[in-house]
Symmetry: C2
Subunit: 263 residues, 2 copies
């Protein structure tokens, strides 16, 4: 039995609105959904919540809080916690942001991130919204200077209850310590995101592959997260300017299902 | 006093032959040079050696051995050791290669690499050519599946005498464990390569920046390698399709010198 499929709404965000994505998931029998906040805002939080409930979908995460390098990080993150709470999300995904513009000091930026998470943690705990630190690929250090699972877990250790990690294969598959760190993460794995790494990757952000089209050993990583105690959804998150964002979204959803079954 | 400048010949390889680069280094007062083997082959090993000696340049490395995923890896690496020996290089730089085509098994590929290095190590020791494992940026895992300094040093620990690391800021600057691992490396740092990371990087391989044009804290990393006991050259290695490979190479060399003085 494979972990069930969830659709991260970024996967078809160029083609469909959130309302259309909710309809699409229901139509294709995809039971999980992980919406982005800009799409939630566009649809309206109440409408989104109502529609997701009507279609009997499970929210597997809200994307995203974080970006602690922004001026209004605190207000924005408190709003994000509230939204995740409203949608009964099992986690608010944190893309933590990089060093402030003009700064080369990654070490201070990383300390700042930890302090910011500590500052919003009481509200997150009160709202029962776990915060999921998502380590991003080292090539995306400008968007997030938490770049390995080990680093994210060290941060979790320092922060305590209410903080975990999101494991996105795209960001962590290369890591020689991946297996050991997934094991260490254990029940702190709050989300598991899948796609593939294309050997001829042409863009640092928007050139992810569909599962099976690249070189990531998905069955192996999945078995590691399962062995660590994760029993949630597998969330497909594909940013793809050259391919999947150009296709008929019904085809994209069909393909996600087929590939998940094959992997 | 800053560590002296060496030119990795890749920096102007699109514009100049090795013979021209040797002349150029001498003309600009750059005392170190680190040639690539294809350029050595083109010039002829004897000619290269003679010309480098005549201009009183110091060879700071030979690029590259490794690529253990290739069929003829052993012969090729033994030839590379011989060439590095002839040129009195302080190290043969190893770009270790990725998983074999069609394989998704990074773990086996990494074991294979360690075994291959062990297999050529006796010849390297006999020739007094230290082997420098160069961890490559995780986005370049297809060219080298050694991707962190920690991983490279673990390999060194397993292999023993005669193996060290090359620290290229481009590949390791993002690493939260960088400082600790440079300290751990100590005298095993066999080469120190510099350039910069452009925030708007457009290509995974050939879009490096000139020192000062990006976001790497070069003075800090240099002080770490110096504190670890490294007292060799700072080798400028810039792959740059869109910028530095398009420029007058005399301007490139002048700029390298100016920027090194400024950083």
């Amino acid at each position: 039995m494979s972990l069930p499929l969830s659709l991260n709404t970024a996967t078809v965000r160029k083609q469909w609105s959130l309302a259309q994505i909710i309809e699409g998931c229901a139509r294709h029998g995809i039971r999980g959904i992980s919406p982005w906040r800009d799409q939630i805002a566009q649809m309206g939080l109440k409408n989104a919540k109502k529609s997701i409930r009507e279609k009997d979908l499970v929210v597997t995460g809200v994307c995203r809080g974080g970006f602690f390098s922004a001026r209004d990080w605190k207000d924005d993150n408190l709003r994000a916690i509230e939204e995740a709470h409203e949608l009964a999300a099992p986690a608010l995904i944190l893309v933590v942001g990089g060093a402030p513009e003009g700064s080369k000091d990654l070490s201070s930026a990383r300390k700042h991130i930890r302090d910011c998470i500590a500052a919003i943690l009481p509200e997150a705990r009160q709202a029962k919204v776990p915060l999921a630190i998502e380590p991003l690929h080292p090539m995306q250090v400008g968007r997030a200077c938490v770049n390995t699972l080990e680093q994210a877990l060290d941060m979790c250790d320092a922060l305590g209850e209410g903080v975990g990690v999101a494991v996105d294969v795209y960001h962590v598959w290369w890591d020689p310590k991946l297996e050991a760190q997934i094991k260490r993460a254990g029940k702190r794995i709050l989300g598991y995101h899948i796609c593939d790494w294309l050997p001829d990757t042409r863009d640092l952000f928007n050139d992810r592959g569909m599962m099976g089209d690249g070189v990531i050993d998905l069955p192996k990583i999945r078995s590691c997260v399962e062995a660590a105690g994760y029993s949630g959804f597998q969330e497909v998150e594909i940013f793809s300017d050259r391919d999947w964002w150009q296709r008929d979204p019904d085809e994209v959803l069909r393909t996600c299902k087929e590939r998940l079954a094959a992997c």
